[in-house]
Subunit: 146 residues, 8 copies
């Protein structure tokens, strides 16, 4: 029986493509959902559709809410949320989405380098798997799809 | 009618005390919950009670889970979760707790300096108030308690 | 066993006081919750606490969210929501709160003049009682509290 | 992945058609649900099927409940509820449905002219987007469907 | 968009067939679920599969539970539960299933002769339509399916 | 730790008093809730408060809804619902309340004479105890309160 | 209408195959879900994908969590959970999954030899059918699928 | 703020008393709930109150259900469920209650000897703490109550 997974977090490397390639390679019955990955479009979408704002706060506010229409909907339909933390930026949104998934009772797979273990300990502790690479996520999907 | 609030996030300044002092000063009918604020005790509690671990990952794991016994319980009892982001550390746990509250449908008040607006836009967008100071939180509590 | 009721809607007549007086007169075991009833304070609270806004939309936005901290919390704790529609203003917020109560599964008592029956038919149809006067609400409370 | 949207509110202009045309034009994977849009049929359906009533209240009551069989079911299946407020009539049912969606945790997109900002501030404040035109709604759908 | 309806209650007349015929005649997009309608099979199924019981209570008990595997599952998947009360037998199970639907938040259509209004007033009061004939149910389905 | 029980069903014998006496005699920590037990008041309450109706259906309708304000609220607060079926009347409301409790996940204790086993088999099958006398209910309460 | 069943518990006999064969033989509209049935793969999957552990506790821990990604997801999608207890091993996981299903409100069919009645009485008491053989489960499915 | 804990599982040693003594010694704000601990009373309660059964299955059945009136109610009110596995008996009920708590989203603390790690790995993996002694449970409570 198929799984729907939502790939949350870091958007500057090709980890999502690696997971999707693995899913295709092994013909796994897994649907993949993601946020909008175009950073600039995502930042400007509020102004682009709903009009200019003089305050950066409200520009961000309108953009974040339009993105939430997609991400909250996709998150809530996922059987598993995979969250990746990279080595750049504050990435509070990744942690926030991990929290939403937890609050909704949706299981997490976390992916990050071992150096990030200490600041991520609460998120790791609530996850069902803590991985370091996309291929580990693919292995897990392969195992649970057999 | 009373409110229960949970004060999440940054533990290195006295913002919680300022809020509690304001609540006391104005005799507001507000119960305040917090995580354990002793950083070192919180980091070591897994080993201290359940035994040594040779791997830092598992040391952190056991500590994070014992802390979750308190924080998840307190979070889920709160009428309002106040989350403060400071200017140090990664603070992924603060964002994670904001997400859990959101997943559980508990409203947020966020507190942070304006410089952090952009990386916190998703959390701000899901909050019912974005503040900068403890006294603003106290003012809000005073208003909703009248 | 006691009831908690939330009195939603019109704020320009003394209908809430009449209900509260009735509850006191008959010594009914009923706790009464209300939104903030000071119209001007309620409209300005966003700016007053969180700072000026140049756009009326954002001024209203911040005020409405702070008020939601109180109203959503009180609504969700109520055993019964009483909503009164008057003969002035658009009163969309009254209908909105009636909808929130319905979405949460909390029963409604509606109060309005017979002239408003047609535009309120959907709200009346989801209510457990449609009244015209505060004393009818008090009679209902007296009956269910016996 | 597809979205299901429910188009609530004003039934006297062609805003629903404009949204549906945009969805078709851009081949968006969006299912559209609506209440029954024939005003007269909707008003009379209670009597037409279940028999005459001598009191207008009960005529309205039976009609509103039959309509609720459709609208409550459709509302609860929607990923997003779009609510439009026009410049005529009391439109309490639009606000009521916005509230039901909010109580059920379904996100809102609101559409109305800027003149209505103040009386709609509570509904706007709980929405993820406040629009003025059907084409803005289409743009949002296009963005979240990419 | 399609509806799933569950036809609960009286099993000695052909009211279900009449509704199904109407659905077919008007090509309505409605899926129909029912309990097992063979009275004798339904009464004996516990013993037939799980073995003889010397006590009628336990014979009934085992049968009722096997039937609950079907009815509870079907009830909980329905968008609308239609419950018919006839003029024979105690029919407590019909009222029980109406209650389960109500407890689960699934709307009811009730069908019964006018003579039964008084003893059914609580069930009628929680229904969205009170009908007397299968053709009225078909008319309602036709209306909400348009 | 205390229990709250709701005593549903038959109102023409003193079974509720017998249970309450037993609770008092053994000083059990049990709160007892009941519907309004005055049959005539309960039948007429709609008209008495909200005005005359020419149709018996609407007279019953308004009364049943006011009673539901009490019964639904009390039912939903109960830890255990005790439902008694007597030997008179149709008692569909008792079965309906047993169903609501079941839909809400609240456990049932049923009380009835052995002659009623067959028509009550579905309700008995979903109960945690099937009793014949008030003293058996008291014995159960004594046991679970120890 | 189809059912989805999850077959939990004992993995050392061919009871799942017997049920699947029966479903195929009678062409029942039943989807069957199971945990991973390869005992060794299931025990080692944590280390195999996520790396060696020096402590057996953590080896088991990582494996159990990866298996939970599958089993919790499948359990929560099931209309009925069938749990079989064999005559070997402690089988606490079977009882644990029966409990999860119960906590989620999913009905149980239990299968075990009569010798195990006493230690399984609590699980049996919460089940809708207690069987001894796979063919009894098939008979039940055949009955509820008719 | 206080915690309510439910102490599930093994009833043949004094582990509950040790935890209660620790709570009293450190004056912790913790309410303790337990099943009925008298093994013989618990086994016979069905027959003792509701009458003799000729079949051991039904004797056990009636007893298990009366016990469930207490245990399910207490379980669902707990903030934390502590489950202890001893070295005797099958203890499926302990694992079943751990599962119910998990299905309800209530966090677990597990207690058992290290020898039981492998068969308890799924339960341990879903727990927030795995302990070996009552004093470790007391230490955890002391830490989260500070």
């Amino acid at each position: 029986m198929s799984y729907t997974i939502y790939l949350s977090g870091e958007i500057h490397t090709d980890w999502r493509d690696q997971i999707i390639n693995g899913i295709n390679q092994f013909k796994l019955d897994v649907d993949v959902l993601s946020p909008v990955l175009n950073h600039q479009a995502s930042d400007n979408i509020g102004q682009d559709i709903l009009g200019e704002e003089s305050q950066p706060f409200w520009k961000d506010h309108k953009a974040a809410k339009i993105n939430a229409l997609r991400t909250n909907s996709y998150l809530s339909r996922a059987d598993i949320v995979v969250v990746r933390f990279g080595d750049q930026y504050k990435q509070w949104n990744a942690a926030f989405e991990a929290g939403i998934a937890t609050g909704l009772g949706i299981p997490l797979i976390v992916m990050h380098a071992p150096e990030l273990t200490h600041p991520l300990k609460e998120i790791d502790a609530s996850a069902l798997a803590v991985t370091e690479t996309p291929s580990q996520v693919v292995e897990i999907l392969k195992y649970i799809c057999q």
